[in-house]
Amino acid sequence: MMDEYRGVWVFIEQNDGRIEGVSLELLGAGRRLADKLVVPLSGVLLGYEIKSLSREVISYGADQVYVIDHEVMKDYRTESYMKAVINLAEKYKPEIFLYGATSNGKDLASAVATDLSTGLTADTTMLDVEVEKRLLEASRPAFGGNIMATILCKKHRPQMATVRPKVMKAMEPDPDRHGEVIEEPITLKEDDMRTKVIKIVKDVTKKVNLAEAHVVVAGGKGMGDLQNFQLIHELADTIGATVGGTRDVVEAGWLPHEQQVGQTGETITPKIYFAIGISGAIQHVVGMKNSEFIIAINKDPQAPIFDVATYGIVGDALEIVPKLIKEFKEARERGGEMSYV
């Protein structure tokens, strides 16, 4: 019975007619899985007046795009999206189905997995397939330890996973790539919906946008206390960087949650990342390891953060950071040397 299930699917999340980056990344990851299994890669695109986006889905690697374009699907809602996705999955039977680990992606995947009675792995950071058994190997950091767990779903199909944004690589888009667009009808009516999106409010005033920062100064529990943590803010202010922190720091109330970098916070890829007083637990590292230039400052020469750092300084952050701030200020006063902002 499981043999009926073939093909790799990616849920294409779009907001206001713009495809989320994670969906394009998943097309890249899904392409590799589909090639190994020698099956087509398909995108599932839902929304209202979004059919034209299927070209983009194909250019990023899909062989097929299933499109449901309907007014009921205008804004994301669990009940409408879930019904559409379940209908498609029951009809076409994919063996692997991937979603971005965004609020909506996780919400949707959880509901779909329940109805399809299948396994779902959350917040995956590594994906592979065991070709002979056609098994998806979805790996994620295991709770608490510096260790990864590979989750398998042997007896149920589709095998589903949500995948962290910014850990997979999108392909270079090829506008000449060929693919098939399959439009599916849907019978949902607005009157049958039990939830309504009254309005969507974009927070444009939000000052901290870690995801888009070029330079991030992040601090960990190694800073000692809230007062010492102000050095992190001061260094960031000096060089025009955005402040980030570890889960510990957020739990301690030194930073709001939106500034948390890591598995349960943001995954970011800035040009420069300062990791100060951060030991480098895997939950943190998955959120920042793809930064271009990583500078780690830590007292403990054995700290795992040094394994991912481009350059490491073994030393006391409370001694080093004030000196760094002074150097940067002097460099700026000299002018012309480094322009930070």
Binding site: A122, K196, I200, H214, H257, T310, K323, L324, E327
Partner: protein
């Protein structure tokens, strides 16, 4: 209004230690606590019933007998009563089997007192999946709204609720029909100090404990390890990246080297 809050006992990840040899958790090192997100869910239930001037708050948990502690903690925050489902048959459940067992308990609870609202934390800090809440909603066929940051309005006569749901760059305002299930973010409220009568009640409180036999129409093949489609295939230490250079010398020398390196890379500051 009858609100049921689903709560979980978790190891305190702030305190837990890692065995450096095996790279796994030393579970004995961690005290068990009420999952912090669930505490906010209980607090929100208290807030809702206060605003309405009436209502009953039940808490439901699944776990070993010692999970009674998180029900007592919920009573302290302001819940009225608690239920624990505890049985070897539930052990080893993944998120699918967990939502099945909890939904069976919820059906039993609602037989005596229909449930209007189910609240859950956004996720548990030991698994970080966030999959059980939406799973319960599906099994009971009620709408789920995840990542809730504010309950703006509860209209008992119209049977509707208005909620703010956090999204990537802002929030959306959603109206849902009651009954429904919400999963809450921490910023939805702050945990208040428990009043003394709650503390006294919690100390003496003994929750209802149900085994699998106390639940009705249970398909045992959907419970516990047997009912879990996912398994842990292997655990491994991720390949260590090569790591970078360690700067040498005293603090001042290291800083000088770093400043030179950054000067060479100054285009990165501009985001190039």
């Amino acid at each position: 209004m009858h609100i049921v809050v689903c709560v979980k006992q978790v190891p305190d990840t702030k305190i837990i230690k890692i065995n450096p040899k095996t790279n796994t958790l030393d579970r004995r090192s961690a005290p068990a606590i009420l999952n912090p997100y669930d505490a906010h869910a209980v607090q929100e239930a208290v807030k809702i019933t206060k605003t309405l001037g009436k209502g009953t708050i039940s808490v439901l948990s699944m776990g070993p007998p010692q999970a009674v502690a998180v029900i007592k903690k919920s009573i302290e925050i302001g819940a009225d009563r608690g239920f624990l489902i505890s049985d070897r048959a539930f052990a080893g459940a993944d998120t699918l089997a967990t939502s099945y067992a909890l939904s069976k308990a919820l059906e039993r609870i609602s037989k005596d007192m229909p449930v209007d609202l189910i609240l859950c934390g956004k996720h548990a800090i030991d698994g970080d999946t966030g999959q059980v809440g939406p799973g319960i909603a599906r099994r009971l066929d009620i709408p789920p709204v995840t990542n809730v940051i504010e309950v703006a309005e509860v209209n008992e006569s119209e049977k509707t609720i208005v909620i703010k749901r956090k999204i990537t760059n802002g929030y959306e305002l959603i109206q849902a029909q009651i009954p429904c299930l919400l999963t809450v973010e921490k910023e939805i409220n702050s945990i208040e100090y428990s009043p003394m009568p709650n503390m006294i009640k919690a100390a003496r409180y003994e929750p209802v404990i149900w085994s699998v036999n106390d639940l009705e129409e249970v398909d045992r093949t959907q419970l516990g390890l047997k009912g879990s489609p996912t398994i842990v295939g292997k655990m491994f230490t991720p390949p260590k990246p090569e790591g970078g250079k360690r700067l040498e010398g005293n603090a001042d020398e290291q800083i000088q080297q770093l400043m030179e390196l950054l000067n060479d890379k100054k285009e990165l500051f501009a985001g190039k």
